[in-house]
């Protein structure tokens, strides 16, 4: 039986130096956990996967708030299943990260609950109404899908690529689900339309910012150099804007970007991104992420007896 960290082939390889390792990567090589990978690669890839795992968990914690208020039983089932997927992604990713030997899963979780770990900026914000839940499904899941698909495309770390295959497939369903949910609000009553416009005003910029600032020039970003990322942040962001602006306009919504314009070639160009509110959010702990993390941390502490009892009875 093989675990995620125990692939059947190519174990225990080593490289003379970083140039030798780079040549392996450039030649289409795939790194496996048993390999004697360069420390720089291990640390960078671990940080990236831990960040991804934290983001999936924080995404689940963001979406959970509105599930009890879902305006229908089937909708409740659907949003539960979606949030379950996000938690499931976190579960898989924490296992992949833990297998790298840098931190255990418990350490990663406890550092997240202690406020010492990072996650996607978008999960700092508050879901104010049910329409925010839809905005997350439509805007944020689509951005996450694009971003993760770009990682899956090349991804040189074997276990990560293997779990990304499943994650990307499920995120594709989430994106379609978001489109259906949006359609209901967009073609629904004036109340529903207004609710989504207000949610769009709150979530457009966080979704656009999910791709991060422009990547460093050339191959200065080690994640690009080592083929963890296959596309630059700004290219992914531009493709997203190009796809979602006409979709939202088509449903009669206004994008909260006064500088948004279509150039002579018909390409949609977003206005200048003001990163300062995001930086302030991250410095101050986010409008709502503090509450979510505090709730999760309190539950983690309150349920310690369960984990202890299970250990005793193991």
């Amino acid at each position: 039986m093989h675990t995620l960290a125990d692939p059947p082939t190519m174990r225990g390889r080593s490289w003379a130096d970083l140039d030798d390792f780079q040549a392996f990567i450039d030649g289409g090589g795939m790194v496996e956990p048993g390999d004697d990978m360069p420390t720089e690669y291990r640390d960078e890839v671990f940080r990236f996967i831990e960040f991804h795992a934290n983001s999936e968990l924080m995404g689940g914690l963001t979406e959970r708030d509105w599930i009890p208020h879902a305006p229908g039983l089937r909708l409740k089932q659907i949003f539960l299943a979606k949030t379950q997927d996000e938690i499931g992604h976190a579960h898989l990713l924490y296992m992949v990260a833990a297998d790298m030997g840098v931190k255990t899963r418990t350490e990663m979780l406890e550092q997240l609950f202690d406020g010492r770990s990072r996650f996607h900026n978008v999960f700092h914000y508050q879901a104010v109404t049910w329409a925010d839940q839809v905005a997350i499904a439509f805007l944020v899941d689509a951005a996450a899908f694009a971003s993760q698909r770009a990682v899956f495309a090349e991804c040189t770390y074997g276990p990560y690529k293997r779990v990304l295959k499943r994650i990307v497939a499920e995120e594709g369903f989430h994106m379609r689900h978001g489109e259906e949910m949006l359609l209901r609000l967009a073609t629904g009553t004036p109340t529903q339309h207004e609710m989504f416009q207000a949610a769009l005003d709150r979530w457009w910029w966080p979704a656009v910012q999910l791709f991060g600032p422009d990547s460093p020039p050339g191959d200065a970003d080690p994640l690009i150099r080592w083929k963890i990322k296959s596309q630059r942040n700004e290219d992914l962001r531009q493709a997203y804007v190009q796809k979602y602006v006409p979709l939202l306009h088509g449903y009669g919504f206004e994008i909260p970007d006064p500088e948004l314009r279509q150039d002579a070639e018909g390409v949609w160009r977003a206005g200048t991104i003001d990163w300062e509110p995001l930086k302030a959010t991250m410095r101050q702990g986010g409008p709502d992420s503090k509450r979510r993390i505090a709730t999760a941390a309190a539950n983690w502490a309150d349920t310690a007896w369960v984990r202890e009892a299970l250990e005793v009875s193991a």
Binding site: P71, G72, L73, Q84, I87, W130, T189, T191, T295
Partner: protein, 252 residues
């Protein structure tokens, strides 16, 4: 097929129980004691909601006028629900939720089991499907309780059993319309299911070596044929309705 009053009452009680338990389980998504349990509990919640949907559909298809399922499930007056208190109550302590899961699913297996031979084919088909899923729920509850009930040094499990057991007995409160055993709608009377459930619960605790004495049956549950809602129901109900009431003409 027209259900008689006792048959409707029995199905409504089961539907509302499944709805309330599913909705309550939902609150654990993202907050379980470990990630694997988050995933398991969430699946159980989805199944219970699915059973509620199936039962509401049967009940609504039997009405002379068309009523939307979600409006029926969520917008009735509190007095018109027939859920039991065990299904309704807030269990924000994990030990309470786990104990409810075990008590409730022990009962569900018996309740659905008594409907698998129902002459109403819709009910029988749903019962057979539900019972397959309930086997997993019960297995989960038994395995989990089996590992923590005897090993819990904090006494939380014992405290939860003592808190919830008196409420749980209200689960067997026969509806005012009666028990539809005479018509053959169910294969076993509610009183018989209740007695077997008590035996199974006691046997579970003995097998697990749990430090708990079952509270005596003299404790009043006062659920009056499931017509009285539990403490905290109104807030819970308002939470369920928060979005759908924003615009009842909307398709959400």
């Amino acid at each position: 097929m027209t259900l008689d009053a006792a048959e409707r009452a029995l199905l409504l009680a089961l539907a509302d129980d499944e709805h309330m338990v599913g909705a309550r389980h939902t609150n654990w998504i993202g907050l379980g004691p470990f990630l694997e349990e988050d995933l398991a509990f969430c699946s159980i919640a989805q199944d219970e909601l699915g059973h509620a949907i199936g039962l509401y559909e049967i009940l609504l298809s039997d009405l002379p006028d068309s009523v939307e399922l979600d409006k029926y499930a969520m917008l009735r007056d509190a007095a018109d629900y027939r859920s039991c208190w065990l299904a309704e109550v807030d269990c924000s302590e994990w030990s309470d939720s786990l104990v409810r899961h075990w008590l409730y699913d022990r009962a569900e297996a018996l309740r659905w089991g008594a409907l698998t031979g129902c002459p109403d084919e819709r009910v029988a088909a749903l019962a057979i499907r539900a019972l397959r899923e309930e086997a997993f729920h019960l297995d989960h509850a038994e395995r989990f309780m089996g590992r923590v009930a005897g090993a819990d040094a904090t006494g939380k499990i014992a405290a939860s059993i003592n808190r919830l057991m008196p409420l749980a007995r209200g689960l067997w409160d026969v509806p005012a319309e009666g028990d539809p055993i005479a018509s053959g709608f169910t294969s076993r009377p509610i009183t018989e299911l209740a007695a077997e459930w008590e035996t199974l619960i006691a046997a579970d605790l003995e097998r697990w070596g749990a430090d708990s004495t079952l509270p005596g049956s003299t404790v009043s549950t006062d659920q009056v044929h499931r017509t009285i809602r539990s403490e905290g129901f109104d807030a819970f109900h308002a939470d369920l309705q928060r979005v759908i009431l924003l615009d009842t003409s909307a398709i959400w």
